[in-house]
Amino acid sequence: MESTREIYWNVGREGLVDMYLLALATAGFIFLGMYRFWSRLAGNGKPVVRTDHIRARLAFMARNVLFQGKTIKTGGVGGLAHAFLFWGFCILTIGTTLVFIQDDFTDRLFGFKFLTGGFYLLFSLALDLGGLFAMLALIFLSIRRFIGLPEGYDTGFGDMLIHILLFLALFTGFMVEGARIAFTEYRSNMELAYWSPVGLFFAGMFDATWFHGILPSELPAIHKALWWIHLYICMAFLGVIGWTRLRHVIMIPANFIYADMEQNGKLVTLDLEDENAQQFGAAKVGDLLWKDLFDSGACVTCLRCQDHCPAHFTHKPLDPMQMVKDIGGSLSNGADTPLTELMSEDAVWSCLTCRLCQQVCPAQVEHVPKIIDIRRNLVLMEGKFPGDEVVRAMESIEISGNPLGYAPSLRGDWAEKLELSTENMDVLYFTGCYASYDRRNMKVARSFVSVLQKLGVKVGIMGKKEKCCGEPARKIGNEYLYQNMAKENIEAIHATGAKKILTTCPHCYFTLDKEYRDLGLDPAVEVEHHTTFLAALSDKFNSGNDPINVTYHDSCYMGRYSGVFDQPRALLASLGARVLEMEKNRELSFCCGGGGGRILAEEKLGIRVNNTRGLMALETEAEVLVSNCPFCMAMLEDGVATPKPVKKIRCVDLAEFLDERI
């Protein structure tokens, strides 16, 4: 006999009309809840197109939702449990859909049944295991949320309801299956029943109760009652999707579809010449992008962004999750709430734009652009800055072309004794302010030139014609100053005729390569950071060096922003270095404290970010701390020097390390 079962056994098709009416009502109820929720989000916020390249968007969504990558990556056991719950329910949904397809289409219309034979066996087993995984995951998650009570979780009545309904849906599902198997397969067709192991277990329990008064003849009635109870519970849990945290099953996939598909972290270039613009940046909630408001509906308050944020971690007043939550909360009063009523100016200024919040967010919320937009309002509309020192830095950039206030004519002096090419150069080295003026970082510049010259690369610089790339100004919110700097640099770069630019600063690199294009930097001009440039040449370096223990600090802008993690490690390894990883590394690397324009600002609140990171470096007990960013160098050299346990670690740039060892 072929393996299969009668679909709707014992229930009969006469109940199906009721079932579909119920399903329709449930769908309506979901829709009503989602409509109420969605309409509060939609209709406000500035326009931005997030529906282009729809195939790429759908693929991005499918990849992220189906694999649960971001949920698992930083979610610990809870994240893994969520993934199993999700996958379990996926299997159950697929199974239910197959039943629906066979019974209502292929069988009804063509008399074709596919839930038979080997496929049926696999179907039975998969559904049983899916349900089992979902149930185990749910039990774990319930204990965690309601008994383990992780700190800071925002748990309400709705969450209790979700957990109970999901559990009952799974449990009654197995009871229905058990009752059916007990009547149709148990003892009589065990070969088939083994393919439904969990159902078999429940069937065994029914079987056992026969000795306690339940007659096998009563079983069909019990089964039928259970089937309907199961159906009602399933409809209830589906129904609450629109009204509880469960709405994330719609909102998060939608948020992935609406993701920013531009280069990671590239900011929107404002049109400052727009004569009709009354407002630059975001003063009120409604000044943000609609997607920023939509984000608040996708956030499941999982705490990941808050737990990872280096500003929050070092006791600054910034809490990225609270910001997203409060933006959502304010929408019930329309979109006119001033953003600085939702978060303090100190919180706004605390952001390092390190993008770790976005890296760990399983809901694809975009935190950093919101903060930049709020900063833009403070700077461009109100002339406010985190401190007087930042105002001075802005004026220095404006007048002298660098935030440190040094004379523009001295910009190229670091290279005075080097023989740099002025003509026929292979590469233009965009030195950046710190390598041009800061004593420590000048050494990095000289080492880099030395490496290039050893490699026979003809390198030139722009000297006093080069200006600050504008990155710190832009990240602080000063879009006007940034664009002025960018335009002058672009003109100067084009005048050199260079086709390839190298930088030793990830901030310069990202700004030139990604953001200057919006303002007209010739797409034919290639921009590369020295990390990837040197890593690509690693086979040219002699690797017969003494082994040495180093640790590598992933700068935010080479790491998360540019996705460069492996190349520097490979280069270090090829130079005989053993890389000891810090507590937070690669995608989860911890900012040095100098990002987001904070390099220009004094750190007056909380504990120091650079010391916090410095301690992580010291704990590796490596001899050398290798970084590839002048801001990181400035922050970390100080950061490893001041913590109490006086261990020693030498801070060097990748270029210096290379120069020393070849």
């Binding site: 400052l272 630059f280 700077v379 461009l380 509309m381 109100e382 002339g383 406010k384 800055f385 007087d388 105002v391 802005m394 004026e395 007048i399 002298s400 072309g401 206030g405 040094y406 004379a407 523009p408 004519s409 001295l410 006093k464 879009e479 006007y480």
Partner: protein, 257 residues
């Protein structure tokens, strides 16, 4: 109510100055210029007063110099002043304080300004004479070195800085010249809409000769940078290395050890 603010564009003091060919001033190529810091206080005070008194208050910015000073005037306009007067003078460093004051007074005469704000002194020349001489030429009252300022229908109440940390409160009546000192206020950073508006504000250029500066009483014949008397040495390395180097130097130069 009409306010005049006199500002000067000065070289950034981080510049490594070189003597010019004539030997009487510094070489201006590659030098970054900015608004004299004390004049920023003057602009801020005028603009803040306008904010208090309302839109009928009109603030004029005056600056003497070559074309490049227009940038600095625009900055003051972006801070909130209403109009600019650029007194075109390609060699302002050849004018002495009396000539500068004479030109300002010639411009201001018959324009019925109630208040004239300017910096206590310039960061490049630092004569601190222009304010008092303008007051003298116009017959205005004068309060110098002001660190606190209040104005109420013609009545000026100013706090001035005296020697030794003492302060004096001075009352006088408009019209008056006020010279501003560090501590008076915190100059604002221009907002973007104001920067855009400033581009469209009136900015008249008047040739210096039209304002009859007269002859200089004080002429710079030759300027000379101070002679270099040995340079400081920065010792680098960790504490032990630095100590060794220091001991070596003491031993070598003094023979004490």
């Amino acid at each position: 109510m009409k306010i005049l603010v006199c500002i000067k564009q000065v070289p950034d003091l981080e510049t490594r100055f070189k003597l010019n060919a004539a030997g009487d001033w510094f070489e201006e190529a590659d030098v970054a210029f900015r608004m004299n810091e004390y004049d920023e206080f003057a602009v801020e005070e005028a603009v803040a007063l306008k904010g208090k008194l309302g839109a009928e208050t009109d603030v004029t910015i005056l600056s003497i110099g070559p074309d490049r000073v227009k940038e600095t005037i625009k900055k003051a306009l972006a801070m909130g002043a209403d109009r600019g007067a650029h007194i075109q003078d390609d060699e302002p460093h050849r004018k002495d304080p009396a000539q500068v004051a004479a030109m300002i007074a010639a411009y201001a005469k018959e324009k019925e300004f109630d208040l004239v704000f300017m910096g206590l002194q310039s960061q490049d020349r630092g004569s601190a004479q222009v304010g008092p001489l303008v007051a003298l030429n116009l017959g205005f009252n004068l309060v110098t070195t002001v660190v606190g300022f209040e104005y109420d229908s013609g009545q000026v109440t100013a706090r001035r800085e005296l020697e030794g940390g003492l302060k004096a409160v001075v009352k006088t009546r408009a019209p008056a010249v006020i010279t501003c000192q560090l501590g008076l206020n915190k100059p604002r950073y221009p907002t973007l809409p104001n920067i855009m508006k400033a581009k469209k504000k009136e900015l008249l250029t008047i040739p210096a000769a039209d304002l009859a500066p007269g002859d200089a009483l004080n002429i710079v014949e030759r300027a000379a940078p101070p002679e270099r008397k040995g340079a400081g040495v920065v010792l680098e390395g960790d504490a032990a290395e630095v100590a060794d180097k220091l001991i070596g130097m003491i031993r070598e130069k003094t023979g004490l050890i």
